[in-house]
């Protein structure tokens, strides 16, 4: 991708990763991008340094704007290796004496990633530096989403370099929200659900803090995906709404199955929920991906989980999803469990304990059906679904 001047003197010099499909367990069907930004002012500043294997591409992109050796400083907003992996290569090329500005935790964390003794300079929260015609302000955003995370704000031009916040895993030439249109929101939602949901309380505090500071944000440049230049408030407001965790009247039935009995149950339960007028979708775990499931769950009031009993336990794929979902700390949810079994039938109790550990309010004692559901069992499932639907509507 050729560098693009996204604002006067600010260039997108990042790279597109068209082929990645598994981003540490997050499914990235559309690839992703590692965005990096070059500010050409009296000082030349590089913000973030892409993933290691793209470092030379980053340097080549920069070279189309300015000789990389002329860079005066590098800002590392986030230590995670998709934004810092290229740092040793970049610093080696431009000069290891050049300062790497980062948060205090960034200095600690970067030095635990790289053997090179780089010239780290920890900045204070709220510290302001001038790079010529513009001032850059650093905002600590710890745990959004790592301890080292920070934002860099070009105060003069209202450009927020927001690291992973407001990002989306998406590779494409659209580059801007107005070019991509509303399709960007689905990617942003998936990103929030899978990366940021557990820090929702921090996000609400940060938005309050930023509002009180009265920052005039005219453009948001995340480290992945599309840049928000037309309506940055749209994504900020979406983050607030998702963080408030006031789910919709919606249920998701997440299940796995061995001999299709739990599937029959899942679909009959979904029928019952739909009859109650609640939006619902059954999702078979091995036909989907945990990160897609999490995206569906983000705004669902009811989490309905089903598993056959296997070896006196739940099916391992169900355990995978439950562990993943619990870690993302959903709040204000209703929970229900079901499953087919042969002789012992522990799965429902195990699922309910997991849902309770998430803080979900258990709707019903759960539904177990032995072996293959007959017509009567299917009717019980539909009825169970209706009760779930009613609870969602209450």
């Amino acid at each position: 991708m050729k560098p693009v001047e996204i604002a006067k003197g600010v260039y997108h010099v990042g790279v597109l990763d068209w082929n990645i499909r598994d981003f540490h367990g997050y499914s990235t069907e559309k690839g992703t991008s590692y965005n990096a930004f070059l500010i050409v002012d009296e000082k030349i500043v590089l913000i973030d340094a892409v993933k290691k294997e793209f470092a030379d591409q980053l340097l080549a992109n920069i070279a189309q704007v300015v000789d990389p050796k002329k860079i005066d400083m590098v800002i590392s907003n986030h230590t995670e290796m998709d934004h810092s992996g290229g740092l040793p290569r970049v610093m080696h090329y431009i000069g290891e004496d050049k300062p790497v500005l980062c948060s205090k935790m960034g200095e600690k964390n970067l030095s635990q990633h790289f053997a090179q003794n780089l010239n780290y300079r920890a900045v204070e929260n709220g510290e302001e530096i001038s790079v010529g015609s513009r001032s850059l302000v650093f905002l600590e955003t710890r745990m959004l989403h790592w301890p080292d995370s920070m934002f860099t704000f070009d105060k003069t031009n209202g450009i927020l370099f927001s690291s992973d916040a407001f990002g989306q895993h998406y590779a494409g030439y659209e580059m801007f929200d107005d070019v991509m249109g509303n399709a960007v929101m689905a990617h942003a939602k998936k990103y929030f659900a899978n990366i940021l949901l557990l820090y929702a309380p921090k996000i609400l505090k940060l938005v309050d803090q930023v509002t009180q500071m009265g920052l005039d944000i005219r453009m948001i440049c995340p480290d992945h995906g599309i840049i928000w230049r037309t309506d940055p408030a749209k994504i900020i407001n979406a983050y607030v709404a998702w963080s408030q965790q006031e789910p919709l009247n919606k249920a998701v039935v997440v299940y796995d199955t061995m001999w299709k009995s739990t599937r029959i149950m899942a679909e009959a339960i979904a029928d019952g929920i739909a009859e109650a007028g609640v939006a619902v979708k059954p999702i078979h775990i091995r036909s989907s991906h945990r990160s897609e499931i999490m995206t569906e769950l983000l705004d669902a009031r009811a989490f309905v989980f089903g598993s056959p009993t296997l070896n006196n336990n739940i099916f391992p794929t169900v355990a995978d999803v439950l562990t993943y979902v619990k870690g993302l700390k959903p709040k204000n949810r209703l929970g229900a469990a079901f499953g087919s079994y042969g002789w012992s039938g522990e799965s429902v109790k195990i699922i309910q304990a997991e849902l309770e550990a998430m803080g979900a309010q258990i709707i019903d004692k759960g539904l177990r059906i032995q072996y293959v559901p007959d017509a009567d069992a299917v009717a019980q499932c539909v009825d169970f679904g209706r009760r779930i639907g009613q609870a969602v509507n209450e």
Partner: protein
């Protein structure tokens, strides 16, 4: 003395260890930490901590 867990990042404050990097001596109870003490990992305030079960 009780240990306290940061509800944001999972860091555990152990009074036996204190937080020497931030000037908190070993043996300081959670209650005796200064009001402006923050989680050394994620910067959360004391109010975001819960007693470890």
């Amino acid at each position: 003395m009780d240990k306290y867990v940061c509800t944001i990042c999972g860091y555990v404050y152990d009074p036996a260890q204190g937080d020497p990097d931030n000037g908190i001596a070993a043996g300081t109870s959670f209650e005796d930490l200064p009001g402006d003490w923050e989680c050394p990992v994620c910067g959360a305030p004391k109010a975001d901590f819960e007693k470890q079960a």
